[in-house]
Amino acid sequence: MSMKEIASWALNTAEQRSASYCDVRIVDERSRALMTKNGKVAHASDSETLGIGIRVIANGAWGFDSTDNLSRESVDAAAARAVEIAKASATVKNQVLVLAPEKAAVADWTTPHQIDPFTTSLAENLDLLARVDEQLRKVEGITLAEVNMNFRKYEQWFYSSEGSDIHQTRFVTGAGFDVYSFAGTEIQKRSYPNSFGGQYQNKGYELVAELDLLGNARRVAEQAVALHKADQCPQRNFNLILDSSQLGLQIHESIGHPIELDRVLGYEANFAGMSFLTTEKLRKLKYGSDIVNVVADATQQHGPGLGTFAYDDEGVPAQSTPIITNGQFTGYLTSRETAHAIGENRSNGTMRAESWNRIPIIRMTNISILPGEKPLTFDQLVAGTDDGIFMQTNRSWSIDDKRYNFQFGCEIAWEIKGGKLGRMLKNPSYSGITTEFWNSMDAICSRDQWTLWGTPNCGKAQPMQTMGTGHGASPARFRNIKVGSAFKS
C-alpha cells in the first residue's frame, strides 16, 4: 500500500464529511541513542515510529486526529474523528479562520549528507565514545563523564486537499560530552562542543568526525577541574564577549521566540507565553544596534541547520525572511492562518510538527545573526577590548514570558584586561532586557568565525512538542552588561 493511497482514504473521508480543507502527514521516524557514562554503556537504544496525522477545517474551525494504525478502517475513523473535533471547535469561536493562499507543490527532497548514520558500525561508535570517556577520566578530579551520540532519520509524506504531494527525508546527527568535577562544596561542569548534548546538525555521520571529540577531551576536562581554583566572577557591569554557542542560545530566547507570530497573537498565553513584539512594532522598533542583522532562513543555502527543509508542514516552501535589518525589526515567523494578521498574503513557511501525532505550529527555522562584513577574528575582537569578560558555553537560561528580562549562566569565563584574556572565572552569569542588550552590540566576528549551532530540544505548545532549531552566530561583543547578579545574596 502506497503512502499516497493511505492518505487518499483520509482526504476522501474528510471531504465526504464536509471538511473544507484537509492535510495529511504520514511520518516514518527512526532514531538511535548511544551514551557512555564513567566507562560503561549508559544508554543504547533504537526507536521507530510510524503513524498518520490528519488536520482538517470544518465549520470554519480546526480539528486534528492521529493514529499509529494505518489500516483503512483506522485511517477512515481518524479522519472522521478529526472532522467531529473540528465541528466541536466551531462551537466556541469568535474569529473567522482563513488560510493564506499557497500553490500546491509536488516535491521530493532529502538532507544533503555523506554517510547515512544508520549504516555506520555500532561497535566503532561505542568504541569512540569509550575512548573519549577514557580521556576525560584520565584527568585527576573528574568525577563524572558522559559522552553521547544520537542519530535520527525523519521521513514524511505530506498530502493536502489542495493537491500538494511532498516527500521529505531529514537526517539529524548529534554528538558531544559533559564532564563534571565535584570537590568541597562545589560541582563544576564543562561541555563540548556545546552544552546539553553537544552539536546537532542536519547531516550524516560526517558531523561526528568534524567535531573531533577525542582531540578536545583532555583540554575541556582540565578546565572543569581548574574551575574549582578560579575566582568567582565579579558582580558589576562589564563589556561582554560571548562565544558563538552562547550567542546562539541568546538569539533563540530573545529573538527567535519573540518573533513567533502565534505567541504574539496570544495562542501560547497559557503555556509558552506571549511576546513584547506586538504587531505595531513591525518595521518601527529599533531591536538592536546598526550591526545587528538576523534572518529566519530554512533554505538549504543557509547550511545544515536543524531548521533546514524544503517545505514546511503546511506545504509552504522554505524561505529566508529578514527579521532584524541593520537593527530595525522587520519580520515575524508566520503561518497560513496568521500571515494576514500582519498584512501579509503569504506564509513565510515556519509551521513544523514534532511527529505524526502532533499538529504543526509556528516554529523557529534557522534564526541566525549574520557575521560581520569586515574581517574580524576572535583574537582581534579580544585585542580590541580593554576591560571585559569572555563567557563560553551555556549552563543555565531563563527569560520572562514576554521575552523582556533574561538571565544566562555560562560554564566558564575569562577576564579581559588590556586586550588580552586573563584569569579564569567561575560561575559567570549575565542578565538584561532584550532590546537594550541587542542595542549594546558593537562588534561581531566575521564569517570564518560563524557556526550554525543546533538546539535539539526546544519545547512549545500543549501537548508539548520538542523541535530542533538552528542558530548561526559568530562571537560578538556587548557594551556595559550587568554581570553576576545570579549569585547576589
Binding site: H43, E48, N270, K488, S489
Partner: protein, 463 residues
C-alpha cells in the same frame, strides 16, 4: 487500550523471535485528547491514539532497548533484532543484575485507590468544548480574554519479563489550565484529576478572573530585594521540584547531588517532612517502576533532615558496596528505577509533603499575618544556576501581588529570583494543607502553600 491479556500475548509472540537469554517488554499507550483555546476561541483541538512497544534484551551482562509503535510480527521481530544487535556489541557490565524474578519483588505496601474512571475515558470533543464554553463565558462577563486547555486521557502501562514479572496499570486523567488576560494584568489556575467530575471549570475560571481583575490597573514596580513571599501550591511545586532528582541513588553515586555529604544533617527547617508515596490518594501514576518493581513508601526528609534515597535494583546493590553507603539511610530497591538502560538511574516521582500537625494556615491567614510581602501565583522558566546550593533562577507570572498590612494591596510587576532552594526550605514560616498541585516545571505533587521569609528577588521585568 490494550488489556493485560493482550500485553501478555504480545510478549509471548515477541519471545519467540528472541535468541537473548532475557527479554523484557514495556508497553505504554492509550488515547489522549486536548482542546486548546485562546482569545476566547478554540484554536487547536487534537487527539492521538497509540501503543508503544519497547523491548529490552539482556545477554551476558549486556543490555539494550528497541522501541516500535507496531505490534505485527515483522515489527516485533525487527525490534528484537535491533535490541540484540545493540546488546551484543557492548562490553559486559559486571554491575548489571539479571532481570527481576517475582520472588525477589518487595510486596506492594497497600492498594492504591482506582485511578481509572469511565466517565473521564468517555469524554467527547463536544463535552470538552462545552467546558471551554463555560470558561469563555466567564471571561466575557469580565470583559477579558482567556487562553488554556481542557485535556482528557485514558492510558495504560504494562511490563512483562521472561522471569515472570508481570505488572499492569491503567488510569485516566482530566486537566484544565486557564489564563485570563487583561491589557496589563493576568491570572492563572490549573487543576487535574483522574476523575473528570473533580474538575470545576467555572470555579477555576472565576479565581483566574479575580486575580486578573485585582491587578488590572498598571502594575506597580517594586524594587528587587529580599521579601517575605507567599507561594501558592503551584509556585511552591515548581520550585521544590528541582531537588527531587537528587534523591535518586544514581545522583548520589555520580556525585552530582546536592545531598552528597549532607544526608542525616539538619539541612532544612524542622517543619519540612517529605515522603515518596505512590499510594497516596491524591497521587497519580503506576505503582511499579521501569523494571516492574513495586514502589515503596520512602521517608525522604523528616524534620528537615534528609533521611533516605530511592533506589533501582542495580543502584541498591551498587550503593551497598560504595564508600558512600554509611549514612545514606535504608539501602534497598524501592521501586523507583527508570527503564533500563538509562543514565538517570532512579528518582522519586510521587512526592507528598506533610504539614506539621495543628499548625497549618490557610492562604488568607498567611496573607493576614504578613506586614509586607509578595504573593506569587505561579513561577516560570525556572533553571538551576548552581547545583550544590541549588540556586534557582526564574520569574513570577500571571498574578504577582504586593501584600501590605495583612491585605493584598495591588498587582506588581513580575520579579526575577535567584534563590537557594536549600535556604528557602530553612525559611518556611507557615505551610497550608498539602493539596494535589500542578505547574509547568515539575511533575505533579501533593504540596502546600508556603510562606517563606527572605526570598531573593534580584530583578524586575517590564510587566
Amino acid at each position: 487500550m490494550l488489556t493485560p491479556d493482550q500485553t501478555q500475548s504480545i510478549f509471548d509472540r515477541l519471545k519467540k523471535f528472541s535468541s537473548a537469554g532475557e527479554v523484557e517488554l514495556i508497553i505504554t499507550g492509550g488515547r489522549f485528547a486536548l482542546t486548546r483555546f485562546a482569545n476566547n476561541t478554540i484554536h487547536q483541538n487534537v487527539a492521538e491514539e497509540t501503543a508503544v512497544v519497547s523491548v529490552r534484551t539482556q545477554i551476558d551482562g549486556k543490555t539494550a532497548r528497541a522501541t516500535t509503535n507496531k505490534t505485527d510480527d515483522d515489527s516485533l521481530r525487527r525490534a528484537i533484532q535491533s535490541a540484540e544487535q545493540l546488546t551484543q556489541v557492548q562490553e559486559p557490565d559486571p554491575d548489571l543484575l539479571p532481570m527481576a524474578k517475582p520472588s525477589e519483588l518487595p510486596a506492594r505496601q497497600t492498594n492504591a485507590p482506582s485511578r481509572h474512571f469511565d466517565s473521564t475515558a468517555r469524554i467527547t470533543p463536544q463535552e470538552r468544548a462545552a467546558g471551554v464554553g463555560k470558561i469563555v463565558d466567564i471571561a466575557k462577563k469580565n470583559n477579558i480574554v482567556t487562553a488554556g486547555i481542557f485535556s482528557t486521557s485514558e492510558s495504560f502501562e504494562a511490563i512483562v519479563n521472561s522471569k515472570g514479572v508481570n505488572a499492569f496499570h491503567k488510569q485516566t486523567l482530566a486537566e484544565i489550565s486557564i489564563t485570563m488576560l487583561a491589557d496589563d494584568s493576568s491570572g492563572w489556575q490549573k487543576f487535574n484529576s483522574p476523575d473528570v467530575a473533580n474538575l470545576r471549570p467555572e470555579l477555576l475560571a472565576d479565581i483566574a478572573a479575580r486575580k486578573t481583575r485585582e491587578s488590572t490597573k498598571p502594575p506597580q514596580e517594586l524594587a528587587p530585594g529580599k521579601y517575605t513571599v507567599i507561594l501558592e501550591p503551584s509556585a511552591a511545586l515548581d520550585l521544590v521540584g528541582f531537588m527531587f532528582y537528587d534523591f535518586g541513588a544514581q545522583a548520589m553515586l555520580d556525585e552530582r547531588s546536592f545531598l552528597n555529604k549532607r544526608m542525616q544533617t539538619q539541612l532544612f527547617g524542622s517543619n519540612i517532612t517529605i515522603h515518596e508515596d505512590a499510594y497516596h490518594p491524591l497521587q497519580s501514576g503506576a505503582q511499579f517502576d521501569g523494571e516492574g518493581i513495586p514502589r515503596q513508601r520512602v521517608a525522604l526528609v523528616e524534620g528537615g533532615v534528609p533521611k533516605n534515597l530511592v533506589y533501582s535494583r542495580g543502584n541498591a546493590t551498587r550503593m551497598k558496596s560504595s564508600e558512600l553507603a554509611t549514612g545514606v539511610g535504608n539501602i534497598a530497591p524501592t521501586g523507583h528505577g527508570f527503564p533500563l538502560p538509562n543514565e538517570m538511574g532512579d528518582a522519586p516521582m510521587n512526592i507528598v509533603f506533610s504539614a506539621p500537625a495543628n499548625s497549618t494556615k490557610t492562604l488568607d491567614e498567611m496573607i493576614s499575618s504578613t506586614e509586607r510581602g509578595v504573593l506569587v501565583t505561579r513561577c516560570w522558566y525556572i533553571r538551576e544556576v548552581e547545583p550544590y546550593d541549588k540556586i534557582l533562577t526564574g520569574m513570577t507570572r500571571d498574578g504577582t501581588f504586593l501584600v501590605e498590612n495583612g491585605k493584598v494591596k495591588a498587582g506588581i510587576r513580575n520579579f526575577r529570583f535567584n534563590q537557594s532552594l536549600v535556604e528557602m526550605l530553612r525559611n518556611v514560616e507557615f505551610m497550608g494543607t498539602p493539596v494535589r498541585a500542578s505547574g509547568e516545571e515539575a511533575f505533579d505533587m501533593v504540596v502546600p502553600a508556603m510562606k517563606v521569609r527572605d526570598f531573593n528577588f534580584t530583578e524586575v521585568t517590564k510587566f
